[in-house]
């Protein structure tokens, strides 16, 4: 019974933890501008993250090595270093976006300017990374993130024409007000929001720290196969709200408050408060994960001790890197840079950098000397994973040109 409870908690945390600032912004913006014509990208992205997370979890459990640790070993120090710099930079952008997201959600309930709240949030994030129980934090923030279900309730309350909604999802087209290029650009943004790399760094490092073994593979699969798709449904609910409420009124999403606007206008103030709790939890949880990822990637590349469970004095440089990353993100956020814009860039660049970390994991998941001869990828998984590798490479190639052509999606 207790085991079942643990599994349930894991799944629920995965659902609530799936959504972060990137998903909030990307799904709301595309819902407002493209209606449901990019919904299929969320589905493609979810399958991708399931494949990626399953392989990383299996590798972590069977050979005790997390993703970034293996990047240097398989790609060599030169490619590994390029990978490290790119991942760290993008991670820092993401961290700035998440901290700003937490500050914004707090400012919406308190009427304090979010800029004043950024340092407070940053300190809290650091404090949790320094000392607090991770299991508890993951559970709390994951479960609170379920408040985002209010978006799904809003869609149901609106009572849309379900047939129309389905056909828009299954027969996508580029709306007249947009070009093929902006369509593709936002498709990449949505994809990057679904397949967040920091999630995988965090997840696989956590699996190693928790001492996952073969026995835990089953639980890993359940969390991943149930949690992530349900999280994707939350994302689609956010997109549907924007499509049904914002799009007809020609309201764009360039502020976080507009993401929650549909809930406020359809369901009232109480529902809005619940939505804001969900947004707060989702972004705070993501800020924690991104902060730790900053430490993981640097420490794992250089071979330093790392880990969030043991006392900080056992992993000193790791904690220094985390603190510096948080400080850097805070300073950048305090320059008043637009949080929504930073979020957009972080998810688009995440999508572009995905092949770098996905590729070594795909190889190692096929290496019997690491995962054992019985646990290498099966043929179906390999075929699927190869298709995704091709997709990731194509996305990576297309990103920068599209960013230039669309001038960052405007």
């Amino acid at each position: 019974m207790k085991k079942l409870l643990g599994v349930a908690l894991g799944v629920l945390s995965a659902i609530g933890g799936f959504v972060d600032m990137g998903d909030l912004v990307a799904n709301a913006e595309t819902g407002a501008r493209f209606n449901m014509n990019l919904a299929w990208v969320v589905l493609v992205g979810v399958i991708g993250i399931i494949v990626y997370a399953e392989m990383s979890g299996r590798v972590a459990a069977l050979c005790g090595r997390p993703v970034f640790d293996l990047v240097r070993e398989r790609l060599g120090p030169r490619f590994g270093m390029a990978n490290l710099l790119a991942s760290f930079f993008i991670n820092s952008l993401t961290l700035t976006a998440e901290i700003a997201g937490v500050a914004l959600s707090l400012s919406l309930v308190s009427s304090v300017n979010y800029l004043f709240l950024i340092p407070v949030v940053a300190f809290l994030v650091w404090l949790v990374c320094w000392r607090m129980s991770f299991v508890m934090m993951e559970r709390i923030f994951g479960l609170l993130g379920l408040c985002l279900l209010v978006f799904a309730v809003t869609v149901w309350k609106i009572g849309p024409d379900w047939n129309e909604l389905f056909s828009a999802t299954t027969h996508p087209h580029v709306p007249h007000s947009e070009t093929v290029f902006t369509y593709a650009y936002f498709g990449i943004a949505l994809f990057g929001a679904a397949m967040t790399p920091y999630e995988v760094f965090f997840f696989s490092s956590g699996a190693v720290e928790d001492g996952w073994t073969k026995k835990d593979l089953g639980e890993n699969k359940i969390n991943v196969l149930i949690g992530f798709p349900l999280g994707a449904l939350l994302s689609l609910a956010i997109m549907a709200c924007a499509h049904l409420v914002l799009a007809p009124r020609n309201i764009g999403v360039d502020q976080l408050s507009q993401v929650a606007l549909p809930v406020a206008s359809v369901m009232g103030r109480l529902a809005l408060a619940i939505a804001l709790i969900g947004i707060f939890a989702a972004t705070f949880g993501a800020a924690l994960e991104t902060s730790l990822s900053a430490g993981y990637v640097v420490a794992q590349y250089l071979g330093w001790p790392w880990g969030k469970h043991n006392a900080p004095r056992t992993a000193t440089r790791f904690h220094v890197v985390i603190a510096l990353a948080i400080v850097g993100a805070t300073l950048f956020g305090l320059t008043g840079v637009d949080p929504v814009k930073v979020t957009e860039y972080s998810i688009v660049l995440s999508a572009a950098a995905l092949p770098l970390t996905y590729f070594p994991i795909l190889v190692i998941a096929n290496d019997p000397r690491y995962v054992g001869p019985d646990h290498t990828n099966g043929r179906f998984l390999n075929a699927l994973a190869s298709v995704y590798l091709v997709i990731l490479v194509l996305v990576a190639i297309a990103t920068i040109p599209l960013m230039i052509i669309t001038k960052g999606g405007s």
Binding site: P77, R78, L302, A311, H319
Partner: protein, 143 residues
Amino acid sequence: MNVPATPAIAGRVLHATLDLLDRQLRDRNGKLCGNVDDLEITRDESGQMFVTAILCGPGILAYRMGRRRLGRWLEEANRRVHDTPSHHERGERTRIPIELAGEIGPTIEVAVDVDDLASHDMERWTLQHIIGHIPGNSSRAHQ
């Protein structure tokens, strides 16, 4: 003269770049203590070559990636700051004799203590000068 595909003599067969370089090292207590940054090779008079040590520590990787001067400078700087007089022998704390390598797999276990290695010097320094001064540094996260 033919190169045999699989040598007739028994014994562990490895490829240095594939199986040794950039592998994670663990000390005799299982603690992470760096990566294999480089390998020391010795040539003897009869033309035979042996891998004689694992090299790991500040500057070693920089040297390997082409920044020879930077690498040597970092090694020297670390030695001056951290080595005690008894460690004057050049490169003693960045060098792990290969015979101390045990299991060679996803990680390589070496029969040394992490505190004996130069790769741990900055970790200790950071503890003394930064982390050690922040409250709460010595307890595990509350569970």
